[in-house]
Amino acid sequence: MSQSATTEHSVAAAGRGRLTAHLARLEAEAIYILREAAAEFERPTILYSIGKDSSVLLHLAIKAFAPCRMPFSILHVDTTWKFRDMIAFRDATAERLGLNLIVHVNEEGLKQGINPIASGSQLHTHVMKTVALRQALDRHRIDAAIGGARRDEEKSRAKERVFSLRSAGHTWNPRQQRPELWTVFNTRLGPGESMRVFPLSDWTELDVWEYVAAENIPLVPLYFAADRPVVERNGTWIMVDDDRLPLNTGERPQSRRIRFRTLGCYPLSGGIESDAATVEDIIAELRESRFSERQGRIIDHDGAASMERKKKEGYF
């Protein structure tokens, strides 16, 4: 069978004609991984960050088990500094899909007054994300946390396995990763160990957007360009999402047409000036883009190889 015949055939078989051969393959592989996670672990849980990757992951998890219900709980680690739109979207999504949503906040961190402004992004991220995630995984005895991380996001992620072992204490040892052969996954855990599972490992940012377009997946409005109140910090636009963001003397919020390529805590998420107001616009913009996705992420730049260090400590 010639290559073009195979491709046409796959598209025709897709019935919808929407997914390319390439996206259909990525979808099938992700579903295989999600089913392995469901079959091999006692309390597999989707780590839901409300962003586009999490939304695609959730969509795939629902499809993987259709017409049955998805067998995963959904965990959101809330730093209390997420955009208000994100929280509203999270709750609406949980309601719409009937999800078993667990929201975890590091209450001790909150009591100590840790926040991204006074404490700095490093300490805030460590206490309210990394430590908080470890707390939640322990409290709910989650043996497999399924995340939407992609290998194309960042260099240390490029090295990660699909089924990635965490030792007791949730640390990652990149020098001693288990070999991962074919799609025969070694899912065995020793006492205290847990697994991170990344079904979107081989997806790129563009794949995610093209899949969102093909499948009509709802997303947080912050991904789409709109006039938003912002201040300029370190060459990036920070949105004034509520009155907790202290303004420097003489600094006044201005309105700019911006959107976000990644979402996190609002004081740490830089927006980009853009007119891309639809998924199609964003795909067109991405094809032209000369900047990487995590460029707006302040926390990734806290030091050379900073993502690797955070992951060794248990950051997702």
Partner: protein, 628 residues
Amino acid sequence: MHGAAAVRGAQKSLLRFFMGGSVDDGKSTLIGRLLHENGAVADDEFAALMRDSARFGNSGQPVDFALLVDGLEDEREQGITIDVAHRYFSSPHRAFVVADTPGHESYTRNTASGASNADLAIILVDARRGLLPQTRRHAVIAHLVGVRHFVLAVNKLDLVNWDRAVYDEIVAAFREFARLLQLGSLVAIPLSALNGDNVVAASANTPWYDGPTLLSHLETVDVEAEQSATPLRVLVQMVLRPDRDSRLYAGVVAGGTLRRGDSVQVAPSGLNCQVDRIVVAGEEREQADAGTSVAVGLDRHLDVARGDILVAPDRRPQVADQFEAHLIWMSEQPLLPGREYLLKVGVRSVAASVTGVKHRLDIVTLRHEPTHTLALNEIGVCNIATAMPVALDSFADGRRTGCFILIDRYSNATVAAGTVDFALRRGINVRLQTLTVAKGARAALKVQRPCVLWFTGLSGAGKSTIANIVDAKLAARKRHTYLLDGDNVRHGLNKDIGFSDADRVENIRRVGEVAKLFVDAGLIVLCSFISPFRAERAAIRAILEPGEFVEVYVSTPLEVCEARDPKGLYAKARGGKLPSFTGIDSPYEAPEDADLVLDSTGAGPEALADRVIDLLVTRGMIGSDGAG
């Protein structure tokens, strides 16, 4: 995304490839070059790359592309690649996933990981250095894990003045190697990754070369043809129950094409049925091709579970409990024939052991060398036995049903990757003879429950002393016993084996089988063996019925044993005259939850023996007094 863009996109396919070759031959540079020329390096990444090049760069150029892919801190500081990294780029015709793999031999397991999902392998050679052992190793590994398409990229030709003779010589040497190995398709390309010659654009420096550039070959090579020709195999991952009466079997089409209305057979059970429903990602379909994740409805209720395979009735897999396989050994602990590992093939896990190693492969000469074990990074051919029959294909026939991993039951480490050569039929013909007098009847005659009392501990711990006293006490109670002692069996049953790790495993395996026969005969069997490895003790527990294996750990510490040294063995071992002596230069793995722990520093052997008797009474193996 509609109209023209969608049509263009619909033809776009995915190619996964593997980048192999020796350290310093320029693998990371070539990948960096491919990424950069396909616009996959963003401006901020490029800026970071310029900064890093000044700090860590080894190429002597303002931009060291290798730093784009070496992501781990250790890697950047040492200038080497430790683990496989995946990078992504796209041309108008194809999306590409590159697995960049370590050049160093010590990271072979990561190399195999990177190659195992690749459709194609690029084997990179430095024109100045020619084929190195690691070049050959990567070609062998890629071939072994199933890659069928190869590119020989002869790099750094600029450093030999684009000398065609150098190129031709390397290509001829590799073609000969490929012929011996029966490698799949092979295309050779002369290039300079650093300068970009023949990577994306054809080079003016190679007028003598009229083949494709690397990228144009990657864009057009057809890797999909063979997949659809394989026989139907659907790996069942789990059972979905949409309602009380119906079942869907969720899994993946690992080979062939699944069509509604097809007659299929369930392997290994051999039951026949018809496909009456195919659901793909929530939508009803008429058919599904290889690689598709499906949920399958059958026309009748059958016992189908995770690990079963739906197959074409006229092209069935082998169902076997013994087969020959190639193994890549990936653990620092060498392969121990006879030790029980967990074998995972497809989504099915089963206990298995290597029953014999036929030979080891010399990577450079491809010669077969005799051996009885495999060490880290070695490749060999072995016979494997599984605890129960499994459905499998030879790897040449079914990529996903003919490959497996071996897992250590204790560390949970993946210790080997394997591919099935062929099933051995002789296992199926050896059937167990059913005996008329059953085990329970023999035990009842002796008014006792048979068991194995397994005394483990260091040499000189007091195992044999205590076991002898227990034996005498049981005899006094008119119980039927037999004592197997380490030193005694080595004069007869096991006089043909020595003290290497592999021999110790075999020693204990035989004793376990003998003990099992004696238990079958209704006896209480006392075994006194150092038996240093957890895995072997667990293997004996596994061949006995639940509760029959009673592990007694005589926990006397090494210093005490050495001070006692009743046979003078510790002195010899310390003097270097007794290699592989447990506790000195060979490990002892203490039981994690022994049935009984006896500390001979706190009590005499008589008192300790009484504790064993008490345990037998408590467990109901014997009566509470001499009356049984």
